[in-house]
């Protein structure tokens, strides 16, 4: 625990460790559920976890958690030491889960900055009873042993307390760098005025050079090297800027938010470097007496009366610091060097890096496809070589950053275990969860977006998919239901599927419902593919209605699930076989930001479509074109009929080719539907960086974003799903 690598705040660390402990705890419990008892390793592990949580929460002064953890620890202490037989295992598991839930709930409160005010007295009492029960009947001997247990306790380490600071969250660290214009007089005094202004809002403040008041030579240092300040405050950067600007002569101010660690490093640095500005004469003896200061130092400086007092203090401080400088130095850097093999990085920084790479890819395209290169007769062979190298490096860079953001799905999947346990217990069903491919890695951003939908899908499977035990027995299925949670990589996408061996979706009933809701339009029921039918359950109104009528089937928040998945550019694929179960697969692209795209033009406007959505390009003759009486157009290619969208008509672009044989037809696919798009011609292929459509443009059907092309022009990115639906 006492690891020097830990740089998070005390509270973060407590939350992290406790959450991990609880997770392990739950996993042990779920593992042991079928065994019906804990083996020795489990008992020891649980004892250890509860002991750790108890200790940590006592240090953090969360008495409620500590007491509860202590009680559970007692129970396991007894189990470990006395090894009682026939303990009611299921009951114990319930208690453990209740404890875990309580602690988790408290952690949530703590995370949100609220007080941990939950009361666990009932639970403690129940645990007490439970403990008595398993001890019961064992006679006095056991009682004694139990009495001996508390005697064990004192052997533990002395108690420690950590008093969390008030509103620690709102306190920020900033590093400030001020430069003064070279002709500024007494820059040191100006700097001090800034410091003085900041003192009002500072919880802690350090500056360099630190001898600005005591040493007139520091003016030159400030002018030459600038003035550095590190400040801890609850105010924001704007307020700091405002305060600094009260002093004159400032040329430039740079304010950067930094971490506590950097703040600390600044202190170290400040201490080590400060003497430099004083050069030779390190110790200025007389300064200790404030009186001397007034005459020894330049009198003009001391015109402000209020400043005077503070000045004295600062002088003293500077004096002190100077004197002891060498002592507290060395330590920290030495220690750092050996430990850091991992660093934790703020996700915002990673996002920024990702954005920058996007910009780099655009800039690269602008250079490599620059119109200036198109001068006839130019020898570009060397340029081409260099360009190839650049392209290679930038794509490697892109991959490296992607890899950095990748996280295994393990944690997300493990949470599902508990959900299956809880839900199935409540519903009185016997269900087993099998997890496959939990080491599959996906972007951190995607993990955040899929854990809710995944939970929905799992719940749905348990609740609606798997039949009740009796029902299963009566139709000759294995009584124990099974849900398989699987993740795998599949051609630039990650597929996460939840399949159950329950009753599956009933096509007829869904169709009937859709009919009643007027969703079928004028198509006949037989025209709908199974997938289209199943997709009805993802419509918002559809699901709730079914729920209200207690209609058996799925649909609890399926629209929310789909919306969540769509947010990360994914789709939900539903497959089912009546009576045999169903499979819900989330197909999510591995990356959201940079994709390969094919560019085509329509009357001077460029459109881009992701390369993996393009099935083929084909030139079509007039006779392959079928025009329906209502004006709808279709093209017949190798006996398959595709609906045709003319982009110039669709987006009302004037000009563009009209004759189908003059332009080119591009077949685009979305899930298992295909559409033919008619454009003037192909313009090229390029890595495109997806940028959202600016919010002042209202949502346009069939357009999912925009990007910048190599020649600097803007191109719209086609959203095939939208196009298909529109059609």
């Amino acid at each position: 625990m006492a690891d020097d690598m830990i740089t998070e705040g005390m509270l973060d660390m407590f939350i992290f460790e406790t959450e991990q402990g609880l997770e392990t705890l739950e996993n042990i419990c779920l593992e042991s559920r079928d065994a019906g008892e804990f083996d020795d390793d489990h008992v020891n592990e649980i004892f250890r976890i509860m002991h750790t949580i108890k200790g940590a929460s006592a240090v953090m002064m969360y008495q409620n958690i500590a007491t509860l953890a202590h009680k559970l620890e007692d129970v396991f202490y007894y189990i470990r030491e006395s090894k009682p037989e026939n303990i009611p295992h299921a009951e114990l598991l319930d208690y453990i889960f209740e404890v875990s839930d309580f602690v988790n709930a408290e952690l949530e409160k703590i995370k949100e900055g609220a007080e941990s005010d939950g009361v666990a007295d009932d639970l403690i009492e129940q645990l007490d009873k439970y403990l008595k029960k398993i001890q019961g009947g064992k006679g006095a001997a056991k009682k004694e042993e139990q009495a001996a247990a508390p005697a064990h306790a004192p052997e533990e380490e002395k108690p420690h307390f950590y008093i969390a600071p008030v509103a620690s969250d709102s306190s920020h660290f900033y590093s400030i760098f001020i430069t003064y214009s070279p002709d500024t007089d007494m820059a040191n005094i100006k700097a001090y005025i800034a410091i003085n202004a900041l003192k009002g809002i500072a919880e802690d403040i350090l500056f360099m050079p630190s001898d600005i008041i005591s040493n007139p030579d520091s003016a030159a240092v400030v002018l030459e090297f600038g003035f550095k300040i590190a400040i801890q405050t609850t105010e924001d950067a704007d307020r700091i800027m405002e305060l600094i600007n009260t002093s004159s002569g400032i040329e430039q101010v740079e304010i950067n938010e930094c971490t506590g660690q950097e703040f600390l490093e600044f202190c170290t640095e400040a201490e080590s470097k400060a003497p430099a500005s004083t050069a030779g004469e390190i110790v200025l003896g007389p300064i200790e007496q404030p009186t001397i200061r007034t005459d020894a130092k330049k009198p003009e400086a001391i015109t402000l009366t209020e400043e005077e007092e503070k000045g004295v203090e600062a002088v003293k401080e500077a004096q002190k610091e100077k004197a002891e400088k060498p002592a507290p130095k060395k330590k920290k850097p030495a220690k750092k060097a050996e430990t850091q093999s991992f660093i934790s990085v703020n996700i915002k920084k990673m996002d920024l890096l990702m954005d920058l790479i996007g910009e780099l890819v655009i800039a690269q395209a602008v250079v490599l496809q620059n119109p200036d290169l198109k001068v006839p007769g130019l020898d570009l062979s060397n340029f081409k070589k260099a360009a190839a190298q650049l392209t290679k490096i930038s794509s490697e860079l892109q991959e490296a950053i992607m890899a950095m953001r990748m996280m295994p799905l393990k944690n997300t999947f493990q949470k599902m275990n508990r959900i299956v346990y809880d839900t199935s217990k409540k519903l009185g069903k016997d269900i087993e969860l099998e997890v496959i491919g939990e080491d599959t890695e996906v972007d951190k951003n995607i993990i955040e977006h899929i854990s809710d939908p995944l939970m929905h899908l799992i719940r749905n499977s348990v609740d609606h998919g798997i039949e009740s035990n009796e029902k299963r027995a009566s139709i000759g299925k294995l009584e124990k239901g099974k849900i398989v949670l699987e993740a795998k990589n599949e051609g630039g996408q990650v597929w996460i599927s939840v399949s159950d061996n329950g009753k599956g979706l009933k096509r007829d009933e869904i169709l009937a419902k859709a009919q009643a809701n007027g969703l079928l339009g004028n198509r006949s029921e037989r025209d709908f593919t199974d997938k289209e039918v199943y997709n009805f359950i993802t419509l918002p109104g559809f699901s709730t209605k079914k729920q209200v009528t207690e209609y058996s089937g799925r649909g609890v928040g399926m629209d929310v699930v789909v919306k969540n998945i769509q947010e990360v550019g994914g789709v939900l694929d539903i497959d089912s076989e009546e009576g045999r179960g169903s499979t819900m697969t989330m197909k999510i692209p591995l990356t959201l930001a940079i994709i390969d795209g094919i560019i085509f033009s329509v009357a001077g406007t460029n459109f881009v479509s992701a390369t993996n959505t393009v099935t083929e390009f084909i030139r079509v003759d007039e006779e392959q074109l079928i025009i329906e009486p209502d004006g709808e157009e279709y093209v017949m290619i190798r006996d398959i009929c595709y609906p045709l969208i003319r982009l110039n008509e669709f987006y009302h672009i004037a000009g563009g080719k009209e004759k189908i044989s003059d332009g080119i037809v591009i077949i685009l696919s979305y899930e298992d539907r295909k559409v033919a798009v008619f454009a003037d011609g192909l313009a090229g292929e390029q890595e495109i960086v997806v940028k959202p459509i600016p919010s002042y443009i209202k949502k346009v059907p069939g357009i999912s974003g925009c990007t910048q092309l190599g020649d600097g022009s803007i191109s719209l990115i086609l959203d095939i799903g939208g196009l298909v639906d529109k059609k």
């Binding site: 830990i6 420690h160 008093i163 509103a167 306190s171």
Partner: protein
């Protein structure tokens, strides 16, 4: 309760002094060196401090060093554990590593700044100082 406060920042020192004075005599010092001196003087006078509050970032001797010095002195003089001063670190450095380091050096509590008075008093009660 006799309290020794080591704190280089004037405002914080004044705050601590005011806050803890209601529980008894408080002596302020401005750096770690002075704090250790004051601690020694009190020992000589056989009026040891019950509570020592140490800032970490201080000139001359930082809080860790002062803490270690005090514990070393106690060990050297064979002062029994229950007679040893209770030491609370008061600092803005809240990283886990710092906190653990301080605990390992033998402080009993670690208070992050700005100090939560209610919790601080709570700890004092637990330590049976008030």
């Amino acid at each position: 309760m006799r309290t020794l406060i080591a704190e280089d920042d004037f405002a914080s020192r004044k705050f601590m002094l005011k806050f803890l004075s209601k529980y008894g005599e408080c002596d302020p010092t401005v750096d770690g060196m002075e704090a250790v001196d004051a601690y020694l003087m009190a020992l000589e006078a056989e009026m040891p401090y019950d509570l020592v509050c140490l800032d970490i970032m201080m000139p001359k001797l930082d809080g860790y060093q002062a803490l270690k010095a005090i514990r070393d002195i106690e060990q050297e003089r064979n002062i029994p554990e229950d007679k040893q001063a209770k030491i609370i670190m008061t600092t803005a450095l809240n990283e886990g590593a710092n906190v653990n380091k301080a605990f390992n050096l033998g402080c009993v509590a670690y208070a992050g700044k700005p100090i939560d008075q209610a919790k601080f008093e709570n700890v004092l009660r637990k330590l049976e100082l008030i």
